[in-house]
Amino acid sequence: MTQLALVIDLNVCVGCHACVTNCKQWNTSGSAGALTDCNPYEANPNGTFFNRVQTFEAGSFPNTETVHFPKSCLHCEDPPCVPVCPTGASYKRKEDGIVLVDYDKCIGCKYCSWACPYGVREFDEQRKEMTKCTLCVDRIYDRNLSEERRKPSCVLACPTGARLFGDVHDPDSEVSVAIRERGGYVLMPEANTKPANHYLPRRKTTLKVRNDELYRSDNPHKIDGAPFDHNLPPATEELN
């Protein structure tokens, strides 16, 4: 059974909010209707977003690390928001595991948003309906798009490739390999919701530079056409 999901690499997310704006742009232009913006140019701008990027700082100054943390619906395999819905508007698709809201059935009671421990559903103040990430269900199957464009908007927008999209039940998919090989984890495992979306943790990265990478073939710092020292990389001033 397919379970589509996002895998978000916190190691490379730079917190640029491109996923947020592209998500908003795509989903505010869809057939379901616009995503509300309240006071967009005033003191307390507010509005409906399916995706937000938060920022956390781990450690104490000066030994800190900034972690940007994109947060959207996790498309749980056991979603607590679905059984509580009194109208059946909140449902999980059997064929691909996407958790969706049938806006025409939603009565706007907000009960599903209470049941979700992650706070990823947003009530649209103008449409008076509950809204949430759809994994861009209206574009990932769109045959009018070329195959590499059939991905959620946030994934296409990410300039660092921090967002991967695929079937987490297929052990050979890009997302499953990333979860397996890069320590993928889920949020709030204690909630037993089995989120489909996974996060990849920060990693220690070491830069490996070989000497031959520092010496270009046309390096002017040569003596009689040969590097002056085969063992040591040149000092900075020597390169200038």
Partner: protein, 323 residues
């Protein structure tokens, strides 16, 4: 959580309405067993009408909670999984039975249907009363389970939630029945007042137990488990929006710590202590019972406000800093 006034009125009004119906049928049951004098049809009939009015007012209040009230009929479809859907079915069903119960008394639709082996004569009002009692308790359970079934809302996820919805609604309804009897059947006032005292006292015990339990809860989710960042010290620098969001509005009550410190003794005093004192020392007369019911109702509104406000939603861990 931010308490929604529509839900506060819904739960307190129907709680009192259910309690009033239960009180009326309790009296009728005592009368059937010969323990109390049977009252005239008007007493049960107009009492049921009062209960029905409270239930209808609660139902009307609930519509103000909905973004799309015109689609409310759809809420009856998911009774297999959703306690809210079950409540949506049971409330009108119960209202229908209360209406029939009152109408059966007023219209004298009470020919004896059959006779129990012990000689008890069963008429339509008895059958409707039994069915109504079953539905009243089912409705209490449905309303409470809407909250108690949410596993991650630990302040609510407790049998005490169900017990307190029954006891607080019951106490309120029996006290209203006592005030009603002071006008309609003065001889029965003491009976209702005694039950109101007992149920309100049990409600106080249940509510204090819930307060005691909730004060000792520690959040299961931490910023570490919520973000997966492996570090004991994590500070939030941005929540992803400059103004507020739905998340910062819906899941925080937005009141000061001083307000919270005030409302807890207020609801304990108004909702429990004052009515208990009035029931204990006062003569069961309307001039005492009516203010007692009114004060208890205000206290129960405050109690219901606190019931919502005291929940620290797990998502709040993601919203610790504006910016």
């Amino acid at each position: 959580m931010r308490p929604a006034s529509s839900v506060l009125f819904l739960t307190t009004l129907i709680g009192a309405g259910q309690g009033l119906f239960l009180a009326l049928f309790t009296q009728q049951s005592y009368a059937l067993l010969g323990q109390l004098p049977m009252q005239d049809a008007a007493f049960y009939g107009y009492g049921s009408a009062l209960a029905l009015a409270l239930l209808a007012a609660g139902l009307a209040a609930s519509f103000f909670h909905l973004g799309h009230p015109e689609r409310a009929w759809r809420a009856a479809t998911q009774w297999r999984t959703s306690w809210l859907s079950r409540e949506v079915i049971v409330l009108p069903a119960f209202m229908g039975i209360v209406f029939l119960y009152g109408a059966a008394h007023l219209m004298h639709w009470n020919p004896v249907l059959f006779k129990l082996p012990n000689g008890l004569l069963v008429d339509a009002t008895v059958l409707l009363g039994c069915l109504g009692t079953l539905l009243a308790f089912t409705l209490y359970v449905c309303t409470a389970m809407i909250y108690a079934c949410l596993r991650m809302m630990r302040e609510w996820h407790s049998p005490l939630t169900v017990a307190n919805y029954i006891l607080l609604g019951g106490g309120s309804g029996f006290l209203l029945a006592a005030a009603y009897a002071a006008f309609a059947a003065p001889a029965q006032t003491a009976f209702f007042a005694a039950w109101a005292f007992i149920i309100t006292l049990l409600g106080l015990v249940g509510r204090i137990a819930a307060l005691w339990r909730n004060a000792r809860l520690r959040p299961v989710s931490t910023l570490q488990s919520a973000t997966g960042i492996k570090h004991p010290r994590i500070a939030q620098k941005s929540q992803g929006a400059m103004g507020g969001t739905y998340n910062t509005h819906e899941f925080f009550h937005g009141k000061s710590a001083a307000f919270i410190r005030t409302i807890k003794p207020t609801f304990l005093a108004l909702g429990f202590a004052v009515p208990l004192l009035l029931l204990m020392i006062g003569h069961p007369v309307a001039s005492v019972l009516l203010p007692a019911f009114a004060m208890q109702y205000l206290g129960l509104l405050a109690e219901r406000w606190y019931f919502f406000a005291e929940v620290n939603h797990p998502q709040n861990v993601y919203y610790q800093t504006l910016g």
